[in-house]
């Protein structure tokens, strides 16, 4: 046991020396990993935010049934009661003509736009909220067919098509992200492997001597794997830090563009778990690159 601790201490020292001696090439490896993970992270942030918004849409998704002109309040009441009995409907909110105008006025910022209006052009409507498990294209279709032909309903409006399109875009971005991640990871892996191989080459005399005096394969390799690990974790941490700074700087600048994509939802940054995964990802890339270098230089 004591021997193992001593061996670990020796290996740690050797790893430290390895790191000290890698210098510029090591710095390049760290920068490469940081750049790759920064790009991946930025992409992931966009996808994560879009998906977060999709979730929010899902929760808020409601169908609006515009009522025909001239329907009395009692008729509207009766209609609302009938709609509430339709399968999958959670509750129905009645919005009268006056209330619709009031809401519109509030949304438009109370400007003079509506002042010249004669009368109220907005129809009364029913806001229909589906139960959560029913908020799917299928649930929407059931509702649609149930409401079809109900007297008093002029038109059904819902954001489903828009949501579907948005979801398709998010899914596409996710696929592109995976592809980008794969390519960047591969490139990073090769660069790290090359860096470590340079280190291995620079220290080949030492490695040779260590083998002659009886160093095990593990003993010879561990410092290089540790080097890859540290470079990777460092690259990941730098990427996380840069992303955090870039996020803080970019979000206020891009708020109009972001509003287009995210609506009123505030863009979110990675949580702690996601950041840890990013750093671990860097470390995995580093160790993988080191492993690749060691396998490639067996002789």
């Amino acid at each position: 046991m004591n021997r193992r601790v001593e061996m670990a201490a020796v290996l740690l020292r050797a790893s430290g020396e390895n790191l000290r001696e890698t210098g510029l090439t090591g710095g390049i490896a760290v920068a490469t990993i940081a750049t790759a993970l920064f790009m991946l992270g930025a992409f992931a942030l966009v996808v994560v935010n879009m998906e977060g918004l999709l979730d929010a849409f899902g929760r808020e998704l409601q169908v609006t049934a515009y009522l025909e002109e001239g329907l009395s309040a009692a008729e509207a009441e009766e209609l609302a009661a009938r709609v509430e009995t339709v399968e999958g409907v959670d509750f129905v909110e009645r919005v009268g003509k006056a209330e619709a105008l009031e809401r519109f006025r509030a949304m438009a910022g109370g400007g003079a736009l509506l002042d010249g209006l004669e009368g109220n052009p907005l129809p009364a409507s029913l806001g229909i909220v589906l139960r959560a498990e029913q908020r799917t294209p299928e649930g929407m279709a059931i509702l649609q067919s149930s409401l079809d032909g109900l007297p008093g309903i002029d038109e059904l409006a819902h954001g489903q098509e828009w949501v579907d399109g948005y979801a398709r875009l998010a899914a596409l971005l996710r696929v592109v992200g995976y592809a980008l991640g794969f390519v960047l990871s591969l490139a990073t892996l090769l660069i790290v492997a090359n860096t470590i191989r340079l280190g291995l080459y620079a220290r080949r005399d030492e490695v040779e001597i260590m083998e002659w005096v009886g160093a095990s394969r593990l003993f010879v390799r561990t410092p290089f794997l540790v080097e890859g690990f540290v470079q990777g974790a460092l690259g990941g941490s730098i990427a996380a830090l840069l992303l955090f700074v870039a996020f803080g700087l970019a979000v206020p600048e891009l708020r109009y563009g972001l509003a287009f994509f995210l609506g009123n939802a505030a863009p979110r940054f990675f949580d702690a778990g996601e950041l840890v995964r990013m750093i671990v990802g860097g470390a995995v890339l580093g160790v993988g690159g080191a492993g690749l270098a060691l396998v490639g230089s067996r002789s």
Partner: protein, 251 residues
């Protein structure tokens, strides 16, 4: 056969396999042949036994097979035919992990020293103990004592390149001896040194033999061999053509 010297090394901590092997000569070769290219033999049908405390000169012209023989003994090469037993282990059958374990008990010295120029003298010697997992404190004291044996303890913090060729070779010998190997192999250890320093180096290795290590020194320097009364194996074209003793001016 010369000098079954008394083994003065402590065996108290030796594992059973080691104790069992203690009665056998640590280096035994039977009918060993080695070829790097089809049709040409670097070694042919070589048999050899070197006991504990034995000191053997291996001589012959360049290309006679001296280096190949040493490489086979520290498992840098595998034989094409024959059996090689080093410390009771069959070299031909050693699997990956067993090679480092064997090498920790076999010290090797090269003509060109093979020192790490960016490390201090002390660090160069310590590498042997580092790979074996010795504690830092144990390493320091053993390195110091070994450097004192070779007369370099006062230079332990210097860089090897700041020292003379003879001193550099003594560092290499200290590196080979610090792990108290059962076998010491040296390939032309005096090849780069002038005659006076060469004697020094050989005497250091003889001292190791006196402490119980089996020592094989390859050299083409006949004048050196003639100064010592030690067993000599002459190789030519990969074959042992003569087994004799040096006339022994200085042993």
């Amino acid at each position: 056969m010369a000098g079954m010297a008394v083994n003065t090394k402590t065996q108290s901590s030796a594992p059973p396999a080691r104790a069992q092997a203690a009665s056998e000569a640590p280096v035994r070769m039977f009918g060993v042949s080695k070829s790097y290219l089809p049709g040409s033999w670097a070694l042919r049908d070589v048999s050899l036994e070197v006991a504990r405390g034995d000191f053997v000169f291996l001589t012959g012209a360049s290309g006679a097979g001296k280096t190949t023989l040493l490489k086979l003994l520290f498992a840098a090469e595998r034989p094409n035919a024959g059996q090689i037993l080093v410390l009771g282990r069959n070299i031909a059958r050693l699997r990956g992990g067993a090679v480092p374990a064997l090498r920790r008990r076999v010290g090797v010295v090269f003509q060109d020293f093979k020192l790490l120029s960016r490390r201090s003298v002390e660090e160069n010697v310590a590498i042997t103990l580092d790979v074996a997992g010795f504690s830092r404190r144990a390493t320091r004291s053993r390195v110091f004592n070994t450097l004192r044996q070779v007369g370099l303890h006062e230079h332990r913090h210097r860089q090897p390149l700041a020292l003379s060729g003879g001193e550099q070779q003594r560092i290499a010998i200290a590196r080979a001896l610090v792990g108290e190997p059962d076998v010491l192999l040296a390939d032309e250890p005096t090849g780069n040194l002038d005659p006076e320093l060469s004697l020094d180096i050989i005497e250091l290795m003889m001292a190791a033999a006196d402490r119980g290590t089996a020592v094989i020194v390859a050299t083409h320097d006949l004048s050196l061999i003639e100064r010592f009364d030690r067993r000599v194996l002459r190789l030519e074209d990969g074959r042992v053509i003569e087994r004799s003793r040096g006339p022994g001016a200085g042993a």
